[in-house]
């Protein structure tokens, strides 16, 4: 039963990792941009949530109403103002610029919020649990997983059933020809980044409710997100969810064997899958 419990808890944890990863997956899929600052943007969203909850005295989930559009606007501005200028045939400039952005974000947050660990107070939601067949499942992890599934489904639906999604895929296929069809790729990229950071906002709030955070933890979230994307296969959003689940299960099962192995066993599972399936489990894009 303990092992089953570890697997179930790991699966639910995977939902959070999928939320970390969905934005990365989307951005890479549309514009082949690897965003090194993604983890720090998640932390930024958590701090935005912190400010809103403390100033307005609202529940963190209610703060999403403001944090999601705020991150979306930041995403569009960031893409149009900075990241579009780095895109081209060379992969290095976007890596360097987002790395620099990561440093700036971390230090900016440090200046404003100090290095003290913070947490979003979600009241009873944090400790509430339901008993399912002998297992005790936290309401928060269940909620996070449900949100992750809903977010992935919504992104998938946007991609394949809306004109915006059609534009995303067309620009991803061939930027010049898409431009000839009247699609301004700079604007489309801006919208993609806005959508990605809107998802990041949800990830940041769920992270902040689940654990304490400080300005330095972005890098770790980036790694988990990356691993989920790569395990699932590039360009496949449902694959990203499965990647998150595999990572989460590997971590909780590893922790069950020895508490010190939690993070390590996640990385080992990632390495193992990379060795066997270098393109991930369900790739849509050949890298």
């Amino acid at each position: 039963m303990d092992w089953l419990n570890a697997v179930v808890q790991g699966t639910l944890l995977g939902g959070l990792y999928a939320l970390f990863a969905a934005g990365l997956s989307l951005i890479f899929g549309v514009m082949r941009l690897v965003n090194i600052a993604h983890g720090d943007l998640i932390v930024l969203a958590a701090y935005l949530g912190l400010t809103i909850t403390t100033v307005a005295g609202v529940h963190p989930l209610l703060a999403l109403v403001l944090v999601v559009p705020a991150m979306g606007i930041i995403g569009y501005a960031l893409q149009r103002g900075l990241l579009n200028q780095t895109l081209g045939d060379d992969l290095l400039p976007p890596l360097l610029v987002t790395f620099g952005l990561s440093v700036i974000l971390q230090n900016g947050l440090l200046e404003i919020y100090t290095a003290d660990p913070q947490k979003l107070d979600a009241g009873v939601l944090e400790t509430a649990s339901v008993a399912v067949g002998g297992l005790s499942l936290g309401v928060l992890p269940l909620l996070t997983f449900g949100i992750a599934v809903a977010v992935i489904w919504a992104l998938q639906w946007t991609f394949y059933h809306t004109s915006l999604g059609r534009a995303f895929r067309a620009v991803s296929d061939n930027q010049d020809i898409a431009q000839l069809m009247g699609l301004n790729r700079r604007h489309i990229f801006g919208l993609a980044m806005a959508l990605a950071l809107a998802v990041t906002a949800i990830a940041g709030i769920m992270l902040g409710i689940r654990t304490s955070f400080d300005p330095s933890i972005g890098g770790g979230r980036l790694i988990f997100g990356f691993e989920a994307v790569i395990i699932g296969g590039l360009g496949n959003l449902w694959g990203t969810l499965i990647g998150g689940v595999i990572l989460g299960v590997a971590q909780t099962v590893g922790a069950k064997i020895d508490p010190g192995w939690q993070i390590l066993s996640g990385h080992l599972a990632f390495l193992l899958i990379l060795a066997v399936r270098p393109n991930g489990l369900f790739p849509r894009i050949s890298a």
Partner: protein, 235 residues
């Protein structure tokens, strides 16, 4: 001047230090079908890239509907009613046939062309509307590429090497269909290496050679000799 939908004056184009076009002067009359011929490397593709805005040019060199579009981006030019059937079809592989056509309508211009009209023109596309565009045969892909350009309801449509890589029977079908496609009030530019085909559907012709206009004439009256001299540069 007013009758010219598209005008190029002293058009130069560069790729870094390499100059691909030297002072090209051309015009397309309203409702006219123009052919541009020339061998590989004569500058035809560069000319297309300049006109459509995929390449930026110095101000004042390209005028469309009386407006200087030399420095406009491709999407801005498309919004003004210019559409292209690009060389090699260049369909979007992740999009279905119908989605490819719908992307063409992205510019939101009103006119006779919509999904229904394109499916009437090419019934085979209606049957295969939901399959991936690149799983079609070459000829059917060309139909999608033409349909995609028509969906924009353009005033000026550019056909870039539409016979390239297709079987002769398919090329014949497509050229037979062209007069019906280039309907009332629409102007067209046909860029071709197949000179006979280009001359048969056009009213005027320009020949490019090493980035310069080497011949300008009326399609029905230019002689073989004139063309081969302009095409190959034989004096």
């Amino acid at each position: 001047m007013r009758d010219h939908i598209l005008q190029m004056q002293g058009l130069n184009a560069h790729y870094g230090d390499f100059q691909a076009l030297y002072g090209v002067d051309m015009h397309v009359g309203a409702g006219e079908v123009l052919a541009i011929i020339g061998s590989n490397g004569a500058g035809k593709t560069t000319l297309m890239r300049s006109i459509t805005g995929l390449m930026a040019n110095d101000a004042g060199q390209i005028t469309y509907h009386g407006e200087d579009i030399s420095r406009r981006r491709a999407d801005e030019v498309a919004m003004r009613g210019m559409a292209m059937v690009p060389e090699g079809r260049q369909l979007f592989p992740s999009l279905s046939v119908e989605e490819n056509l719908l992307i063409g309508a992205q510019v939101g211009r009103k006119g006779p062309w919509d999904l229904k009209a394109v499916y009437e023109l090419f019934p085979i596309l209606d049957e295969r509307r939901n399959v991936g565009a690149t799983s079609l045969s070459g000829g059917q892909q060309q139909m999608v590429a033409i349909g995609r350009a028509l969906m924009a309801n353009p005033d000026l449509i550019l056909f870039d090497e539409i016979s390239l890589g297709l079987a002769p029977i398919i090329i014949k079908d497509i050229y037979d269909a062209l007069p019906g496609i280039i309907g009332e009030g629409m102007s067209a530019v046909i860029v071709e290496q197949d000179i006979t085909k280009a001359l048969s559907v056009s009213s005027r012709v320009y020949c490019l050679q090493e980035g310069r206009v080497s011949l300008e004439g009326v399609s029905d009256t230019v002689s073989r000799e004139q063309i081969s001299r302009a095409y190959f540069g034989i004096e």
